[in-house]
């Protein structure tokens, strides 16, 4: 720690190098070691900084104590609605009372261990896939097994489980499945779209450009409406495509269009020499793309890609408009109980924290992935 501070103050001194006499001044290492010295160097080193520091302290002084007293000190953790009304703080009791409908929506109450287990399986499979040592062919087997098991758990109808039609699914499983499947399907689609957009064949190029521009040019809500309301009108009579599947298709296409533009950015960043070297060695188009260009291009665009993943995860909450019960909709529904109605704010805070947890994990993972995949750039 002390070494850290010393280097920082050295760098600080070095930033004043315009004046030659300053260069030779030894870093104020001793004062920097003490907290008071550090504060003086970093928080109160000029009039403006002093003013900013004081302003920040004032904001914290007014903002933090009320939040803490509402959320923690005066909160009711396990109690009845009456106790909540009597208390001044947050009513976290509603989470305890309503967590089942929040997480699982209208899934039959006595069967809710099934979506719970399915979600747990899903999260474990995702966790395993995130670890470098597990990037082996058997991972595909793990996923096939997991998805099969999840399907069996959610639908039932096998192993003596009662059948639950998927219009009764809701809550966290819907949010997780929609977002993960949409991301997993949109990503390869986006790569194909990005390559197609650069294709030398005019028909393929205009098809890809048309798709991307159409999807980017309309709000997700209207894409979902199209998928849900308009699309069935074009189907022959008697043929139906599941509502969940239609929403998934809409979300996938929408996400793919945005991802494709991110991937295109990566493709354009690869020097022409890389294409030429691959050509000169006799690699075919797909070999060149899959072995040389995409591995480099995708590494560059990890940040915008993950940005889009996070966006897609949050966008799943829009499927409520086509009558699907994602986590947010299920939570909303859980607050309709008149007894608990006044405490809907706490439920939104809770759901917000869940969303934040998933998004923050993705963000942290992408930072690790970026470091990991750029190892070849280190000297």
């Amino acid at each position: 720690m002390s070494k850290d501070l010393t280097t920082r103050s050295t760098a600080w001194a070095a930033s004043f190098e315009e004046e030659p006499s300053q260069v030779m001044v030894p870093p104020p290492a001793l004062t920097a070691l003490k907290p008071f010295g550090w504060a003086k160097d970093n928080l109160f080193n000029s009039r403006l900084n002093t003013a900013l520091t004081l302003a920040c302290l004032a904001i914290l002084w007014f903002a933090v104590p009320p939040v803490v007293s509402w959320a923690l000190v005066n909160a009711t953790w396990l109690g009845t609605p009456e106790q909540c009304r009597a208390a001044e703080g947050a009513c976290w009791s509603i989470i305890a009372a309503k967590h089942r409908p929040i997480f699982f929506g209208t899934y039959p109450y006595e069967e809710q261990w099934r979506p719970l287990l399915a979600c747990a399986l899903f999260l474990v499979a995702l966790g395993v896939s995130a670890v470098r040592a597990c990037w082996r062919p058997w991972l595909v087997g793990v996923w096939v097994g997991c998805l099969g098991l999840m399907g069996a758990l959610m639908w039932g109808g096998v192993f003596g489980l009662t059948y639950v039609a998927n219009d009764r699914w809701g809550g966290l499983p819907i949010t997780l499945m929609l977002s993960v499947f949409a991301i997993a399907l949109a990503f390869p689609l986006s790569v194909v779209l990005a390559l197609g957009r650069q294709s030398g064949l005019p028909a393929i190029r205009s098809l890809c450009v048309g798709f991307i521009e159409l999807m980017r040019g309309v709000p997700l809500v209207s894409v979902l409406f199209m998928a849900s309301v308009m699309f069935p009108l074009f189907l022959p009579e008697g043929v139906t495509v599941d509502k969940l599947l239609r929403a998934l298709a809409g979300l996938t296409m929408f996400t793919a269009a945005y991802l494709a533009e991110a991937v295109r950015g990566g493709l354009q960043a690869i020097p022409r020499g890389q294409y030429e070297a691959a050509d000169a060695l006799g690699l075919s188009y797909w070999q060149k793309m899959l072995l040389i260009i995409l591995p480099q291009a995708l590494r560059i665009v990890i940040p915008p890609i993950v940005n889009q993943f996070i966006s897609c995860f949050k966008d799943t909450s829009l499927v409520t408009i086509v009558g699907l019960y994602d986590l947010l909709t299920a939570a909303n529904l859980a607050t309709t109980d008149p007894e608990w109605r006044p405490f809907f704010g706490e439920v939104y805070v809770f759901v917000g924290l869940i969303f934040w947890g998933f998004c923050y994990s993705m963000s942290r993972y992408s930072q690790w992935l970026e470091r990991e995949s750029n190892r070849y750039n280190r000297r």
Partner: protein, 247 residues
């Protein structure tokens, strides 16, 4: 002469939009011949050798490599690229692959060779370019001269019959030029057919069988190096030699 030519360019023409990059370029190169192509910048020398493996497409005339004529047909391009290795000014190594993987990628995927087999071959080539100890590093960890030697070894791993060099030493620091030229001289001594665009006139004098001088998209003069440097026939050649040999 024609029947022994491994590369034959016959009245090759190329335009970039309205810019006439190659004008009726005709050239025969025998098997085992070492040709150095020189000329001022913009004279079309790079364009010409890039046409030989179809990195650029010519528009008129014909190019025949080892009995296969280059056409729009993908098959002819594939056939020719398998026999022609190329070394670029900017090395163009694949930065995300190790040195060894750079060498083995094309033989594995294009020639279908077994990994263990080609790795042994690759290491022997790395030995020849004196860089075997760097096999597991990434290109970004090597100096320019080392990278260019890896690039030469990468091209050789495909067992080409012809090697094209597009200004292989122009992007190198002066002290690294020799290590790359030494490797090229060894390769020439082994009898490889080489076409080399370069400004290294020392290399041309000692290694080339033929020097080709180009200006404004045309071949001005083709001669053995002794004759080319001692008695240039055209005024344009004398002017060019005067400029580059001055220093």
């Amino acid at each position: 002469m024609t029947e022994t030519a491994i590369i034959e360019l016959n009245k090759v023409g190329k335009w970039y939009g309205h810019y006439h990059a190659l004008r009726d370029v005709s050239l025969q190169i025998r098997k085992g011949e070492k040709v150095v192509v020189c000329g001022p910048s913009g004279s079309g020398k790079s364009t010409m050798i890039r046409c030989i493996n179809r990195l650029e497409a010519h528009q008129t005339g014909s190019i025949t490599v080892n009995g296969t004529e280059l056409t729009d047909d993908v098959k002819s391009v594939e056939t020719i690229r398998k026999q022609v290795g190329m070394v670029f000014q900017q090395f163009n190594l694949f930065p995300h692959l190790s040195v060894l993987q750079n060498l083995t990628l094309a033989p594995i995927w294009v020639r279908g060779m077994a990994k263990a087999e080609i790795e042994e071959v690759a290491l022997s080539y790395l030995d020849r370019v004196r860089i075997r100890d760097q096999a597991h590093k990434f290109p970004g960890q090597l100096s320019g001269g080392q990278q260019q030697r890896v690039a030469i070894a990468r091209a050789l791993c495909m067992r080409p019959q012809i090697m094209l060099f597009d200004e292989p030493t122009s992007a190198l620091d002066p002290e690294m030029v020799k290590e790359v030229l030494d490797v090229m001289i060894e390769l020439a001594e082994e009898g490889m057919t080489m076409v080399c665009v370069t400004h290294e006139m020392g290399f041309a004098k000692s290694v080339a069988d033929t020097v080709v001088f180009m200006a404004e998209g045309s071949i001005i003069e083709t001669a053995p190096p002794a004759e080319f440097f001692a008695n240039p026939r055209s005024e344009r050649t004398r002017q060019f030699l005067g400029q580059i040999l001055e220093h």
